[in-house]
């Protein structure tokens, strides 16, 4: 009986089987990579704003404390975006005629708010509270990165749930002394775990991983 299949069929079948597998793996890895990439997560993507406000200048160069503008970070879920008045406290004196600041002056003149583009945006079903994290010794930098080095604001972290859980499962890895929460330069000590465990006890930090901690 003559051969039904040509010998090349062997190669073709091997290529399709292994190639298919490789393709599948490539697609899955590719999708996963895209999902983790700035294309989706917006990590490291500087966002344009109506006024090119520079945290690098205000925090890094001028040394203004976070809480000067984000006033409610210690008392509310929302850290607060400063009203135009806060900008004008200084900018009636400093750079009062700068063309870059015209939208700020216009807002103050007309009473119409500046519309900032939101950088750290959580989905609607996630309820995050700034005040409790600050109180429990989570530094601003831990989530927001070195804003004193960001000319325009970007997202430093993915804000994915597994990223949240990294800390919620093991807070001792990230916690810092309360007095350093607003510090930009604070460096975690070499024995972070020892310090972390001490602070977890001292600050009564719980490992909250129940769904309703954030979702309700």
């Amino acid at each position: 009986m003559a051969q039904i299949f040509h010998p090349s069929t062997n190669t073709i079948s091997r290529v399709t089987i292994f190639g298919g597998l490789i393709l599948l793996i490539a697609v899955v890895t590719g999708l996963a990579t895209i999902n983790e990439s700035p294309y989706i997560t917006e990590v490291g993507v500087a966002r344009t704003q109506p006024v090119p406000f520079s945290h690098k200048h205000h925090v890094g160069d001028d040394g203004i404390d976070c809480r000067y503008c984000h006033t409610s970070v210690e008392e509310s879920s929302f850290a607060g975006i400063p009203p135009t008045k806060t900008c004008m406290n200084c900018h009636t004196q400093i750079w009062p005629d700068s063309p870059i600041l015209e939208p700020v002056r216009e807002s103050f003149r007309t009473g119409k708010s500046i519309q900032w583009t939101r950088v750290h945006n959580l989905p609607g079903f996630v309820y995050f509270n700034h005040s409790i994290h600050v109180h429990k010794g989570i530094g601003c930098v831990t989530c927001h990165g070195r804003v004193d080095r960001m000319p325009l604001m970007w997202r430093e972290n993915t804000l994915y749930m597994d990223w949240c859980l990294e800390c919620h499962r093991a807070p001792e890895r990230f916690v810092r002394p309360r007095e350093d929460v607003f510090s930009m330069e604070y460096q975690a000590p070499a024995d972070q775990l020892a310090l972390g465990q001490k602070l977890v006890k001292e600050y009564r930090i719980q490992k909250l991983t129940s769904c309703s901690t954030c979702h309700r």
Partner: protein, 1019 residues
Amino acid sequence: MSNGTESASLPEAAQSTAGGREYWRSLEEFAGTETFKELMDNHLPRHAAAWTSAMDRRDFLKLMGASLALAGVSGCLSPAPAPPDEKIVPYVNQPEEIVPGKPLYFATAIPSEGYGRGVLVESHMGRPTKVEGNPQHPASLGATDAITQASVLGLYDPDRSRVISNAGRVATWDAFFSALNAELESQRVSQGAGLRILTETVTSPTLAAQLQEILRIFPKAKWHQFDGVGGDYVHQGARMAFGQPLETVYRLEEADVIISLDADFLLRSPASLRYAREFINRRRVPGTSSEANRLYMIESTFSLTGSNADHRLAVSPSAIPQLAKTLAARLGVPISAEQPTISPANEKWLGALVKDLQAHRGRSAIIPGEYQPAIVHALAHAMNDALGNIGKTVFYTDPVAVNATNHAESLRELVRDLEENAAQVLIMLGGNPAYTAPADIDFAGHLVTSNFNVHLSLYEDETSALCHWHIPQAHYLESWSDVRAYDGTVTIMQPLIAPLYGGRTAHEILAAVAGQAERSSYEIVRNYWRGQSQAKNFDAAWRTALHDGFIAGTAFSSRNVKPKPASGFDASEPERANSAAAVKAQNQPLLEVIYRPDPAILDGRFANNGWLQELPKPLTKLTWDNAVLMSPATAAKLGLTYQVGGTGGEHGTIYADVVELEYDGRRTRGPGWIVPGHADDCVTIHLGYGRRRAGRVGTNLGFNANALRTLDTLWHGTAIAIRKTGAQYALACTQFHHLMEGRDLVRAGTIDEYHKNPKFLMERKSEKEAPATLYPGYKYDGYAWGMSIDVNACIGCNACVAACHAENNGPVVGKKEVLRGREMHWIRVDRYHRGEPSNPETYYQPVPCMQCENAPCELVCPVGATTHSQDGLNDMVYNRCVGTRYCSNNCPYKVRRFNFFLYSDFKTESLKPLRNPDVTVRSRGVMEKCTYCVQRINQAKIAAEKDDRAVHDGEIETACQQACPTRAIIFGDINDPQSRVSQVKAQPLSYGLLTELNTRPRTTYQAKLRNPNPEIENG
């Protein structure tokens, strides 16, 4: 209709058989019929039956397949990886007190049928989202009713009127004021002889002063009052007994025996929240040493108060004045009228009652119903005097309503003036008389003939449509005003938000009439009180009043009065016009008819409020409709029955026989509904339905009872003809939803039994030990949240249901969906009866999620969307839920609710600010349920953690708990043995539902204890 299960001649079956359960929800359950068994077997709302499209299933799947494939393609082509940028819009100048993310609370009052109830309103960045009671206000004591809870929805109602309209055309305020001024100029010449002002009940001191000012400027003008829910018999009765209108205030905490002559004081009284608290405080048996009170009810329709009575006598409405006379005579009140004969059964009842009253002289109270004729009120005053109750449990004050008049007479006079063209300029402040006025005077017909009329109202309603001018009214949450509570306490009402649609208050309109068009209601109210104030520092006093929510010391002091001798009463009160002659006798039974405001939407003023429409009415459990309510025996006599649409799990549909009602030559049709416990040979019809211009929600629901009413028979008619038409009408009733079958859910006994053996209820039931297990139990280290619901204290008012809906962004599903058993209330109030359907006992049981420790729902979720929290909460994660509904199938308590469609309104702009920002708005295909208000728990925990302390007991109040007038719900940490909830759960009356399933529910119940009179009970 074809899938309806036959249950013909049910009323008779129910009367003859007592083969069902001890505690029953429906007559089917009582009789144990086949229908009921099928309902039990098919107990879940099913999806398939909802398929109504003409397309068949195969085509549908083809299309779905194609669209799925195309959806994949479009997904690849989508240019935007992330959702569009969200904007953050900060203030330009941030107000000092606003902290973004934290709500503020402001004190004001809701004018509930004219009388104030103090409230605290939660405001998120300037938008009111939730109303709570003001604990310091005498009429609230921290509680609210369902209507108050739903009032925020009324504020954001997209159908509220947004424009001034003149004969159907959009106009401006300036145009209105110049037109008004022109009319007033011509009236000035005649001293206002043609000027008429029509209001509802007025208790506002400022408004009263303004009206007086207008009557001074226009001495011949007239002020009329007509309130769609007010009877004003209270003041007429006081006039009869005391010669002057007086307000009666009861101190129920002091009363051991309470007799209600058709008074629904637990639900329908300006002081109902307070009375409910005082009434129940005397019935919380464990822990109190004082004697429990006893409530006797004499009524016709089955009211909420009647359902909470220890003894209830159901008699026809015309018999109530007779019974009152008899009772008065037995109590030693001298009356001349001859004594009617009383049936032996009633005789015994009345005898025991009189004995009980005589034994509690000075510690009893007789409360006449607000819709009872003046003579009943006068007799009640005389009886309270004879029993020495005045000054102990019953107090009299000056009338709270300003210029208390007989509303029916007032309206009659106005219509006469309209008829004679004597009323040329008519200004209507609120109300909807074209709809609420009885048919016989044809108010609407006369309205259109007047020269110039103005209607100030929240909606462009039936009356607005007939007026030359309709002007939008500001909602109470948008208004500066003032209002008096039942005891005279004044609250300065402050706005929570600027008028959304440019509405104005009655104050501003009256100021314009008085020639001061430019004054704002803030100035008007403040100036009035500046004139009244004796405080040295008025600004400080004003701020204190606004902050506290009432002006201290404004309650009326009680008057030392004594009723005239009863023989002086005009007992020959004109019999209500007996229109029997008008009905052409056609061998039809003539019945008596009772008209009552609907428990939820009253006289139709809240008809467009979806939350209230969807609240199951306390006793009938009907939603979205009214019906002709009657007793089982009367229904049998008329040959009425109903069928339950029981296949496909569509338990909501009840096909009721439609009857035609004829009264005084006018006819209307409505579905008949059997209410166990209703008096025989009379029917009750609730007002507020059959609206033609209510809005998208309330238009064309139910039937209009006003079409039958006459001005003489506003609340009781004597001869109504009822015919069965043969047609059927689908009613949405939640009676058969979420059935748990008679599994020992309600436990009840008497107080005497309890005193003999506090554990009597538990011993009677076979409590099973939890089955042995090899697994160690989960240890809750921190908090362990739990709840206890006191069935003994629950009066069934539905405030918790409405509060839960408001707090947790509950959607309105509409009548069609309720027909399929898909209402979305996270807490429901199950109503059970016990005993014969002719006059059963009633038990209410609120059922939220039990937060089982061994939760059956969690085991079956394939995606982990419902899990257990560290505090023992049964968490529901909406973003994980894929909608398998396995959890709901596995829930023995039937407390899970599924979004079959996109029930939440994501589109209507005006509803967006209404939502509680702390709770997710659920989308289609997602399961949801009670969370114990986890947002409140988290907020309290965070607040406590920031202060480095534990959450105090009582710091967290769930929405249902906070609203409850009787404090029936207690929530707290069961790990703390000192917490109130732990202590209550340790009491012998505490029990769990279906604990034999080893679900270990965190929500438990306190059994109900009745306090019957042994003489009646054992006879």
